[in-house]
Amino acid sequence: MDTSLILKNVLTPPVLFFFLGIISVFAKSDLEIPSPLPKLFSLYLLLAIGFKGGIELQKSGLGGQVVPTVTAAIIMSLLIPIICFVVLRLKLDVFNSAAIAAAYGSISAVTFITAESFLESQNIHFDGFMIAALAIMESPAIIVGLFLVKVGAPKERPIKRQMRWRQILHESMLNGSVYLLLGSLVIGALTGAFNPPGIDKMQPFTEKLFYGVECFFLLDMGIVAAQRLPSLKKAGSFLIAFAVLMPIFNSVIGVFVARALGLSPGNALLFVVLCASASYLAVPTAMRMTVPEAKASYYISTTLGLTFPFNIIIGIPVYMGLVNQIIPAVTG
C-alpha cells in the first residue's frame, strides 16, 4: 500500500519538478535559477500560506482542536531537539549537536506545503489552523538549541560569546521568514474579520498561483539539495543515518501525539510532517549568528541535502501510511 502511495506522490507536478532539479545536477546540465529568484519564490510562499492560514484561523476561531494542537506543537518543538541532542552527542561536540538538534526541532515550510498538495491530490481534508502550528513551531526549537549551548558549554566559550537573551529572542522571533509567516497570518486573520471582500481580491495571487510557484520553487530546491550531497558525504555515515532515521523516529512520536489529540487523518499527516521535517531557513541563519562554532555544512547538508528530499519523495507517503494505520484504530 505504501509503495502505491509513494508512486502517487512521486507523480505529482511538485515532486516531478523536484526530481527535474535533482537530475539536472547529476546530469551536469547548466540549468540555473539565479539569485534572488529563489528568494522571491520563498517569500511568496510564506506570504501566501500565512495569509491563507490566517483566514482559516479566523473562520474556525480558537475553539475545538486549535489550542490543544498548537500547544502540542510547541511541546514537540521543545522536546524533539532535546532527544536529537542526546543522540547527536554520541558522536559530535556540544555546538554541532545543539545546532543540528535545533534544526530538527524546527520545521520546513516547503515540506509542509508539499504535504498539503499531497493531501489535496488524494482528496483528504485538512484544516487551516495547522498553518498556525507551522508558524508557531519555527521559533521554540531555536531557543532550546541556544539553551543547550548555554548549559552544555558554559566554560568553553570566551566571554564575548556569552549570549544575551535579547539576541536569542531576536534571532528566533524576528528572523525574516518567521516574521513574514506570522505577520501574514495576522493580516489574513484581520482581513477575514474586518474586510472579507479583500480575501477574494487576494485569492488569485495567494491561492491560484500557489501550486505553480510551488513547482517552480521545488525545481530550484531539487538543484540546491542535490548540490549539498558531496558535503553530506564528507559529514560521515553517522550524520547520514541520523538525517534519515531521526525524521522517521520523530514521525512515530508525532503520529501517537496526533492520535491522542484526536486529529483527523489530514491534520495528523501535517502534524507528523511538522515533527519529521527539519528547518533549513530560520534555524541555520540563527545558528550561524549565535553558535558560529558549529559547522554550517553539517546542519545544512543533513537538513537540506538528505532529510528534505527524503521527506518530499518518500517521507510524506510513508507517514500517510503510518497515519492510516494508527489513526483509524482510534476513530473507527
Binding site: S35, S42, Q227, L281, P284, R288, A296
Partner: protein
C-alpha cells in the same frame, strides 16, 4: 593612501559597517551577493535565499592612520564570524 578589502558573510554587514563608522572612515563601498571559499567554508550562490549563501565585499579607501582604528574595531568580528581583510596601496587619480 591605502585600500582595504574586507570579505565576510553578508549577515554581519550591518555590524561591520557600524565598526567602520566608529573608526570614522571617509566612505566605503559595498558589493553584496559575493560568493567564495575560505579555509573552511564554501559560500555558494544557490544558498543565498536561505540567508547563508552570500558574502559582502567592502572596499575602503583611507589614510594609513585610519587603518589602525579600523583594525581595532573589526578584529573581534572577523575572529568571531570569520572573514578576511587585506590592504594594498592606492592613490587618488
Amino acid at each position: 593612501m591605502k585600500r582595504l578589502d574586507l570579505i565576510f558573510s553578508e549577515r554581519e554587514l550591518d555590524a561591520m559597517l557600524k565598526c567602520l563608522e566608529k573608526a570614522e572612515v571617509p566612505g566605503y563601498t559595498v558589493m553584496k551577493h559575493v560568493t567564495g571559499r575560505g579555509p573552511e567554508r564554501v559560500v555558494s550562490e544557490d544558498m543565498e535565499f536561505t540567508g547563508l549563501g552570500a558574502n559582502a565585499h567592502v572596499i575602503v579607501f583611507c589614510d594609513e592612520e585610519v587603518l589602525e582604528r579600523i583594525k581595532v574595531q573589526i578584529q573581534p568580528l572577523l575572529n568571531y564570524y570569520g572573514g578576511v581583510a587585506y590592504i594594498s596601496n592606492a592613490e587618488k587619480l
